[in-house]
């Protein structure tokens, strides 16, 4: 797996500078053009997990084949984008990187397509060959340019590559196109008209497996046998002897190995050779027979000059129906888990994978999905896709999610909220608590008390809430006003999280009432804060001082009983202090106490009179 590195830290070089290397794997997730692949395949994956399992037999299979096709079309779309990017890249290194990606994606689609035919669709003898023909036609594109060139020329039959193109069509079983081209040559060469007619006829009559139920395999085999014999007769009669090209075509039609192998350059790959051979020697090949032909064809084609590449090994494993081998080889050859994770998941849904339990990941499907999703988590936004993948890993998904989600860097509040929502949806209480605590701590360190408080409320962290409330109160004492009023005003029931927080909320309420001139309510609240012991003792002096303006209103606010209460509170407070403390208290402190005593006494006097008079009020 490719590892890239970069040097962090001071770059002056020199023997004393420290060097820290940042090495990263799974670089693929950072390639912009692959983003589409990850995003769209995610959608297909989720759709598959949620799809109707109740559908049985044919409809289920059709559904799964559709899913497979969807995956492939995403790969193709990505390939297109990558190809465009390669073309427009100025930097040769970038161009080369994109080009490599294009060939990797192309290989992936090739493999996936074959797996779709053999495993998902599980094409039976007959349709199997047709599918394989489609597959070859789709993927061997090296000859496309040549074909285009000849077809678009003024006089195709005079083009030097004319016969090559005819051969290509024949090799790929594109009979109609071959016949069409041949007719042009026929027109130009009146002497060989007879030969053309015969060849044309043979090609037209070639029996092919049908997709529908119009004929049984046996019927087809019989027809094919007859046709094969007819071709044989014409060849042996020397009908095509005067034209080597046509003779070679006839030999190909007869499945002559050497004749086909001669056209190696036009086929370019051994699997093309395989399909051509099958087309012309055993069109009703059964799936389980493929392996024998595949091995033989690969050996013949490579001929000992070259050894199989990883792609060849993978395809061979597929022809041998060794699914686990396919997955294993792909895991080794490819640089990220995307391909094997999604393919294995699909095969698992096709109920094709035996569940051997691997102790390190439950089963193959889950193991690969866990690996893939884990890789996504190192990306600043793709991690969200990873969450859904973990959700569908029944055994270890949750614990993997718990571990990864805690490590997501929470650089912005939005990101933290996004992460939190995900945790809350899944009842991951410990993670919720932890994240809120981390955010609260961060806010507190940066002196953003309001933010810290709302995070600790969300974390249901009473101790922390108390601490922050104390800070608020301290701030108030120092500055005479509250910060973050909105937050405190709208605490609601969360106020009950901690006593100190309750006090903070209620204290602010007192100030609000006072501001709204609702004095008697304010007074009542103030008193209650002390008598119900909601206020901490350390704050009583402040509260009593707050009472002063209420005591000195024109109107009498505190009732007699309330005044007695206040006095009692004041005495409790001062009695608690030793004489020494009283001596040490500064003058301001003592003066405050005196002022309070005076104000309370005055109030008492007024209220006694007021309450004593007949019309009360």
């Amino acid at each position: 797996r490719a590892l890239t590195g970069c040097v962090a830290g001071g770059g002056e070089g020199g023997p004393s500078s420290s060097r820290v290397f940042v090495v990263r794997r799974d670089q693929d997730i950072y390639i912009q053009t692959l983003r589409k692949l990850f995003n769209e395949s995610h959608g297909i994956f989720i759709g598959l997990q949620r799809s109707e399992e109740e559908l049985a037999g044919k409809s289920r299979k059709a559904q799964l084949v559709q899913v497979s096709k969807n995956y492939r079309s995403v790969i193709r779309a990505c390939m297109e984008d990558m190809h465009q990017a390669a073309i427009s890249a100025r930097d040769p290194a970038l161009h080369s990187q994109y080009s490599t990606q294009v060939s990797i994606l192309s290989a992936m689609e090739l493999i996936w397509n074959l797996c779709e035919i053999l495993f998902v669709e599980a094409a039976a003898a007959g349709p199997l060959l047709l599918r394989l023909l489609d597959w070859v036609r789709l993927h061997v594109c090296d000859v496309d340019n040549m074909v285009r060139e000849v077809l678009s020329s003024e006089n195709p039959s005079k083009h030097e590559l004319f016969w090559n193109v005819v051969d290509v069509f024949v090799l790929q079983g594109r009979m109609d196109e071959a016949r069409h081209l041949l007719s042009k040559e026929a027109g130009a060469n009146p002497t060989s008209v007879n030969m053309f007619k015969i060849l044309d006829d043979l090609m037209k009559k070639m029996p092919v497996p049908s997709l529908g139920n119009t004929q049984t395999l046996t019927e087809m085999e019989l027809k094919w046998q007859h046709w094969h014999e007819e071709c044989q007769r014409y060849l042996q009669d020397g009908t095509f002897a005067s034209n080597s090209h046509m003779e070679s075509i006839c030999k190909i039609l007869l499945g002559d190995e050497d004749a086909i192998l001669e056209k190696k350059e036009l086929m370019t790959t051994w699997y093309h050779f395989l399909v051509t051979r099958l087309l012309y020697s055993h069109p009703t090949v059964k799936p389980m027979e493929l392996r024998f032909y595949a091995q033989a064809c690969m050996d013949l084609f490579l001929g000992g000059e070259s050894s199989p590449e990883p792609l060849d090994t993978i395809l061979m494993a597929a022809f041998e129906f060794e699914m686990h081998q396919v997955i294993k080889e792909c895991s080794i050859a490819l640089s990220n888990w995307w391909f094997v994770a999604h393919l294995t998941d699909l095969l698992d849904h096709c109920k094709l994978l035996q569940s051997h339990n691997l102790y390190f990941g439950s089963n193959m499907r889950e193991f690969l999905l866990l690996e893939y999703a884990s890789g996504l988590f190192s990306h600043h936004s793709l991690w969200q896709l990873g969450v859904d993948y973990f959700d569908h890993c029944p055994e270890y998904g949750r614990v993997y999610l718990e571990l990864h989600i805690e490590r997501i860097p929470l650089n912005t509040e939005q990101k933290a909220l996004k992460v939190l929502r995900i945790c809350e949806q899944r009842q991951m209480h410990e993670q919720v608590r932890s994240i809120c605590k981390i955010m609260a701590m961060k806010a507190l360190r940066n002196n953003r008390l309001g933010s810290a408080l709302s995070w600790s409320i969300r974390a249901k962290d009473a101790a922390f809430a108390t601490l922050i409330s104390d800070r608020f109160l301290k701030d108030y004492c120092e500055r005479g006003c509250f910060s973050d009023l909105d937050l405190i005003d709208n605490l609601g029931p969360s106020m009950l999280l901690s006593d100190r927080l309750t006090f903070l909320g209620k204290y602010r309420e007192f100030h609000r009432l006072y501001g709204e001139k609702r004095f008697s309510e304010a007074a009542k609240l103030l008193l209650m804060l002390m008598t119900a012991h909601i206020a901490p003792c350390s704050f009583w002096m402040t509260l009593l001082t707050d009472a002063l303006p209420l005591l000195e209103q024109k109107e009498v606010i505190f009732s007699a009983e309330q005044t007695y209460e206040l006095m009692r509170c004041l005495e409790d407070l001062t009695a608690g202090k030793s004489d020494k403390q009283k001596f040490q208290d500064d003058d301001v402190e003592n003066m405050k106490v005196e002022m309070l005593r005076l104000a309370l006494a005055r109030n008492l006097a007024r209220v006694i009179v007021k309450e004593g008079t007949l019309d009360g009020s």
């Binding site: 830290g9 932890s434 701590m441």
Partner: protein, 269 residues
Amino acid sequence: VWDKSENGDWHCTASWKTHSGSVWRVTWAHPEFGQVLASCSFDRTAAVWEEIVGESNDKLRGQSHWVKRTTLVDSRTSVTDVKFAPKHMGLMLATCSADGVVRIYEAPDVMNLSQWSLQHEISCKLSCSCISWNPSSSRAHSPMIAVGSDDNSPNILAKVQIYEYNENTRKYAKAEALMTVTDPVHDIAFAPNLGRSFHILAVATKDVRIFTLKPLRKELTSSGGLTKFEIHIVAQFDNHNSQVWRVSWNITGTVLASSGDDGCVRLWK
């Protein structure tokens, strides 16, 4: 200390000289406790540091400030490792020294990083080089520390010891010793526990070794409450072909990184 900026570049935001000897290890506390670091040194001390949010000018200049909150001076020899305990245990850390003493400290008030009290002193009999806390927060597992020794004296004593907290005696006691590890140990690391019943421990010694420790039933004798373990070695890699100095697990405990005298970092899956 390096910070990663918005565009993904790393910048050195703080660099300070403090210990009067080589600094052997640094370790981060869990972010729940704020931005907190611990360091340990040849100068026989370990220190706890906290990042202070400074003036906005500093932020612009890309600098951060770290203040020392406490110095732990109990050790009489070089302090070779310092590690914070898993966060579910509160704000706790363990140090180990060259004279074989492991000390466990706790800060009872997590908001006050200058108050740490020494809770446990464990004498390991061998010079210690590294420690690792078992990260498992499962109730089935008591707190556990693995201690590695790089003692070079010609004895065949086990160089890895496992200490477990005993709820009854309220002390840490030796639960296990890995008898097969007789070469000096340079680093040791418990893997994250994914709900497994058994523990996985990586050891950096003359090669890379990975052990599983499977708890057997607890012995409920009067001094008991100590777990017995079934120990297996599940991997041994000598690819470094030299002393292995550090081992470290990934988040899910599925990949182990090791570094060695051959100048290579290797990843094991």
